[in-house]
Amino acid sequence: MNTFEPPIFELSGAGKCGVNLPAIDVPLVDLPQELLRTDDLAGFPELSETEVTRHFTRISQRNFCIDTGMYPLGSCTMKYNPKVHEAAARLPGFAALHPLTDPTHAQGALWIMEQLQSMLAEISGFDAVSLQPAAGAQGEFSGILVFRAYHRAQGADERVEVLCPDSAHGTNPATAAMVGMRVVEVKTDHNGNVDLDDLRSKLGPRTAGLMLTNPNTLGLFDEHVQQVANLVHAAGGLMYGDGANFNAILGIVRPGDVGFDYMHYNLHKTFTTPHGGGGPGCGAVGCKTFLEDYLPGPRVRHIIDSDKFELFPPPQSIGRLKAFHGNFGMIIRAWVYIRTLGADGLREVSENAVLNANYLRIKLQDLYPVAYNRPCMHEVVLKGQLREAPGAKTLDIAKRLIDYGFHPPTVYFPISVPEAIMIEPTETESKRNMDAFIAAMRQIAAEAVADITILKQAPTTAPLRRLDEVGAARKPILKYDPAKFRELRRAHVAATSNEQPERPTY
């Protein structure tokens, strides 16, 4: 069924309105004429509710999503998003609760926040948690700000170097830069661990800390994580844990127990708050006691000798990261998740996630070389380098997977692995679907040998063929403009597969 749908602006008609608003029931007063807008909201569309509903329903069907199929996007933990979470977050007692409500009248919400703080601390082995950060990147930002504040408090203003492995996610170096730190890259050894020699050579009196993802972005648990932590600590640095891959180790090992000082949780990954097509998330952070006072606030605490809870700013806080108290809508979902799974359920999550990833590894590694040949954690990084079809690129393999009904894995990340294909099935994926995915991957390898154009032309069954990204960047059209759309439709630029940029997708 064709779901083509024009830009909403092309459905507009003068005088239509899609909402049923109340009448003005008070006396009218004068408007401040000099402050009124004078453009009659030019360019704003006018549609009925009927049309708006159809428009967004139709375009929605042009999306692949977790509920329509396997979405093995490495580093993103595209696990099933439980429906009960959606109902919970929409209960009026929470959805209609104003953030500045007197805490006495928001005890239900504060109770949930306090319990989530405690549970996250328990699961990760930290002493204190702040739920404020809006996403992982903001959690990282808070962490490096805390490192900076801590070092300054020790009089070590010169500690301005943040070490990041070459496999690190882009947000790690970008974060360090936003705090005004200098990024120092650390090599990966032949087993996919932090290269200890390289690390030693880069540590020193200017070291603020190391940002480490563990399991790392190669899907591997660092075999020397405790040694790495010891080295960093010995050099006076602090250990930042990027918790994007926490899904591999719930009930398996606590980051706080292997030397991390601070870490962020991606509630929108591990604790399955929905990705929403790009967000929102929650990048709650946890830390050891000695950093607790620097945490971003407000946090929630139990008022001693009472059954009440209150918000408070940590005494030496690096400050507010955003308005109000955090993305509560995500907090409540994560809380429901942990409360309904319990300790055993969480461990099952990780066991199944890791089992599934290793199954894919075993079944694909003969055709698609693994980046590092050892058991992986919740995801496996392969290389799209087919021995018998060197012309096939990871991008082609990814696009061809679409025709087989799968969302492609993350590609070209980590950038340290050439032609990387990073597959994270998550614990909710079935063996049945994984077997179909394996079959598709093997079939694609065969197609690549038999007729590479099948891959180069893919996808052919998606709502659109490959798009001209190069053209999009060369002449950006970032908002609707009838003239530019007319031109675009006339142009019919045929983007060829060779023009496709190869860039990380995660």
């Binding site: 007063v29 950006p476 630029v493």
Partner: protein, 451 residues
């Protein structure tokens, strides 16, 4: 096994066999033994019926805007959200998708973001809007950084004291490591003219909010003229709802427009997730943080949408990126897009009008009560300051007992106002509600010994 797990014991056994191990535990041999498999001390797992019942109980401990008459705003607003918004948002195709990195199968998300960008540009008078920032606070903070990196050799940002206190705090958090100074709001009594007087050659940007935190509307034009003359940029923080009726910030000269989009289709949710608005003039585009969607065509020549200009972003440029932002507020941007599409031209204007007239009605009625005074230095939109002979916290406690959520207590943030509350009136507060609020205040005045 939990009800989310899709494999049977048999299937798990088959997978273990394929891997060549006997127990899933062996996959974790790499984890240092002493810390492997900790016993987590968590509350016992609850069934779905139990958790929903517990949530019902917890929810009833909260005084939400459905169970009270609320006149609280201060940056988060009880605006009307048509049911259609959430009905569409709940489509799994939207909310269970990831960032649209594979455009062939993410056109739904991409087209929606493109439309969001377009609507924001129409509303703000900007040339480009990003796919969202975290919220109104972080948007203004990153706008300051963007301005700072866009103009050369200027290291100061001036911020009006009437910018939301949380935004100003966030701005300071964001800029603390970047060697740039934030000033202008030291004196909370300062006017916009006082701020303009501080502009000098070192001023990278001036940040003004309109309607400001205290509800007042400002003309951005003189501010823009002044800051432009000094070579700096004007960053406006706006309320999208007000833009249905009031000054187009782009037309008035703003260079970067930020704001909180919560009032546009997003529930209060105890403070988040909300929607950071981020838009600018073309010339600053390459320094813009966050994702951008552009229109293009596919191999068949059909129009489609892709993420574009990604070389600004962390996943490509790493430490040289314009920002570290990755996950944003995509679904909230979608909510706002649907909401704005439903409202359309007429609806946007009408909502703003209802807010304006009802707020003015409330102000004029409150002004009639002895012991209360409306403090307004100029035209306001939907919020206004009421000063009182009563301490605001005790006033609000009494109001709460009458089923009314009073205005925001300004005492801590703006001590010079004395006992002052920020009253907010939206299209959700009917005349009847306002009359009830006014009556309650009058009753409190009459029995003032109770406080």
């Amino acid at each position: 096994m939990s009800h989310y797990i899709s494999n049977t014991d048999e299937e798990r056994a088959a997978m273990l066999e394929a891997i060549g191990i006997g127990d899933v535990k062996e996959l974790f041999d790499v984890v240092p033994e002493g810390v492997r498999f900790p016993q987590l001390h968590l509350p016992p797992a609850l069934s779905e019926a139990e958790i929903m019942r517990q949530l019902g109980r917890l929810g009833r401990l909260n005084s939400d805007t459905q169970s009270t008459l609320s006149f609280l705003g201060a940056g988060a607003y009880n605006h009307f959200v048509p049911t259609a918004v959430d009905a569409l948002l709940r489509r799994a195709e939207f909310y269970t998708a990831y960032t649209p990195y594979q455009p062939e199968i993410a056109q739904g998300t991409l087209q929606a973001i493109f439309e969001y960008q377009s609507l924001l540009c129409a509303l703000t008078g900007m040339d480009a809007a990003n796919a969202s920032h975290y919220d109104g606070a972080t948007a203004v903070a990153e706008a300051a950084i963007m301005a700072f990196t866009s103009v050369r050799n200027k290291r100061a940002v001036l911020v009006a004291p009437t910018v939301h206190p949380h935004y100003r705090a966030t701005l300071r958090t964001y800029t603390q490591g970047l060697g740039l100074t934030v000033t202008g709001d030291e004196d909370t009594t300062g006017s916009l003219d006082d701020l303009l007087a501080k502009i000098d050659g070192n001023t990278a940007a001036v940040i003004v909010q309109t309607p400001d935190f205290l509800g007042q509307l400002h003309d951005l034009k003189p501010v823009a003229d002044k800051v432009h003359a000094a070579g700096g940029l004007l960053i406006a923080s706006v309320d999208l709802v007000a833009l249905g009726l009031f000054q187009n910030p782009g037309a008035a000269g703003a260079d970067i427009v930020t704001g909180e989009g919560q009032g546009m289709g997003i529930p209060l949710s105890y403070g988040g997730p909300y929607l950071g608005i981020f838009a600018s003039k073309d010339q600053y585009l390459r320094r813009m943080p966050g994702r951008l969607v552009g229109a293009t065509t596919d191999m068949n020549g059909d129009v489609g949408y892709v993420l574009t200009l990604q070389t600004r972003e962390q996943h490509i440029r790493r430490e040289k990126a314009t920002s570290n932002i990755c996950t944003n507020q995509g679904l909230m941007a979608l909510a706002a897009t649907i909401h704005m599409s439903l409202l359309g031209k007429a609806g946007l204007r009408k909502v703003a009008e209802i807010c304006y007239h009802r707020a003015h009605y409330a102000a004029s009625e409150i002004a009639k009560i002895p012991g209360f005074e409306v403090v307004a230095a100029g035209p306001f939109f939907k919020e206004f300051v009421v000063s009182s002979i009563h301490p605001i916290d005790s006033l609000n406690t009494v109001l709460a007992s009458m089923g009314i959520q009073g205005g925001y207590d300004l005492t801590a943030d703006y001590p010079h106002l004395g006992n002052a509350m920020l009253v907010c009136v939206t299209e959700m507060n009917t005349k009847e509600d306002i009359d009830q609020f006014v009556q309650a205040l009058r009753t409190i005045w009459e029995g003032r010994s109770d406080l």
